[in-house]
Amino acid sequence: MSSELERRLRDAREALPTPEADSTERARERAVAAIARRKSRRARTAALVAAAVVVALLGVGFAGASFLRQPFTTYKPTTSRIVDRTFVCAHGALGDLPEIETRAGLGIREGRSRWKQLPYAIVATGRSTNAFTQWGSLTYAYAWITAGSPSAATRIDPPYARDLQRRELPVPATIGVNAKACKRSNARVPLSQAGLSGGAASPFGDELDCSTQRRFLIRVRAVLDSPTSLRARDSFLATKVPVREAKLAARTLNGKALVYAETFDSGKTRLFTANACVPE
């Protein structure tokens, strides 16, 4: 029994996750910078030795040795503007329908620089659900993407983005993933419309239901205006940094494509779904 447990324990380390691409890139830059700093220190030390020899030989001061005043190579940490994460999500246990609902809409401008509605795409639970995923206007969302820079008056996801008094709610975050329903996954989810049908989303919003199993995969990829990472906000991992373009894909655990959506800061949204998905 003990050896069986020990074997299982050793096998379980294979379940350890791997680092994210953005943290890997940051670490790579810093590692290379560490090597560069060593090289710089070595060069400086060599220069100091050479200068000392010259001084000793010529009997002159250090005043002209301007290179000695140059600072060491400095490192400025960089963060990625790209967020690219895959999750395995599960429907709640209190009577959810085994389906996901995808909603998407085009951006609607208000004047030249403001948005009345951001281009958006959302993957949410079906209608029959427990209330474990509500946050601001993103009712029952597993994940959502937008593009463009919202103002306080900008909205997404009508008619769901309303409170109990039917007032429209502001955009809570530009991209987000439900942290209660979804966990990170290493599974491969292509960002592709292959095998799906659809096209440009309607400004009034498209809404389709897709049957799935209890667990399914979601991948979110976004190019943001400035470097950031997803942070825990309420029950979601989210950011408020404006998005230039974003992609959202949902698949079954077996790899069957369900949804693929794209949003662009031009205001365009494209939504593709499996043929078995049905409009609301």
């Binding site: 447990l5 299982r8 096998d11 379980a12 994210e20 670490a27």
Partner: protein
């Protein structure tokens, strides 16, 4: 050797080879992605900055792993002292679903059970079974007598066995 001389290409090659290794060691100790990012990054920087002191006749991976483990444990201690707020994404249960059903689900259940242990027990299990440290080395890392480490390990295994037997994993 090239990395030691300051070659950025050699540094990148060294990084590519060992980064995931260091990160997973840090993650195993902290159970938190953001702490693992920080600890592994610090470990890599420290190792790369100290290549002059590295004995080339010995393998690089265990040296780096040990630095990553130490950095990760430092992070845990800072959290315990309240110097660091709990970081982003700590709401996540970060053990990941694999692709092949039964064995992966068993591994996931074991990883879940390990994650649910108290920190002192979890650490000895992780250091011994996932990071392959002998008891003497664990005692050194944690600053504990070897006997204490051994008894903690035994208690942790008892606890895991009870949970996993109930779940019919072992």
């Amino acid at each position: 050797m090239l990395a030691r001389k300051g070659s950025s290409q050699a540094a990148e090659a060294l990084f590519d080879r060992y980064w995931t290794h260091a990160w997973r060691a840090a993650y195993a100790v902290t159970g938190d992605r953001s702490f693992a990012d920080d600890a592994a990054q610090e470990a890599i920087e420290k190792a790369f900055g100290a290549l002059d002191r590295f004995d080339e006749t010995r393998p690089f991976a265990p040296w780096l792993k040990r630095i990553a483990i130490n950095r990760a444990i430092d992070h845990l201690r800072r959290v315990r002292r309240g110097e660091t707020l709990v970081g982003e994404e700590t709401t996540f249960h970060t053990w990941e679903v694999g692709e092949s059903a039964d064995e992966d689900l068993r591994s996931w259940a074991v990883a879940d059970a390990v994650a649910a242990l108290g920190e002192s027990k979890r650490l000895v299990i992780v250091l011994h079974y996932w990071l392959d440290l002998p008891l003497e080395e664990i005692a050194g890392v944690l600053g504990l007598p070897v006997g204490t480490v051994a008894s903690r390990l035994a208690r942790a295994k008892d606890e895991l066995r009870a949970v996993l037997e109930e779940d019919r994993v072992v």
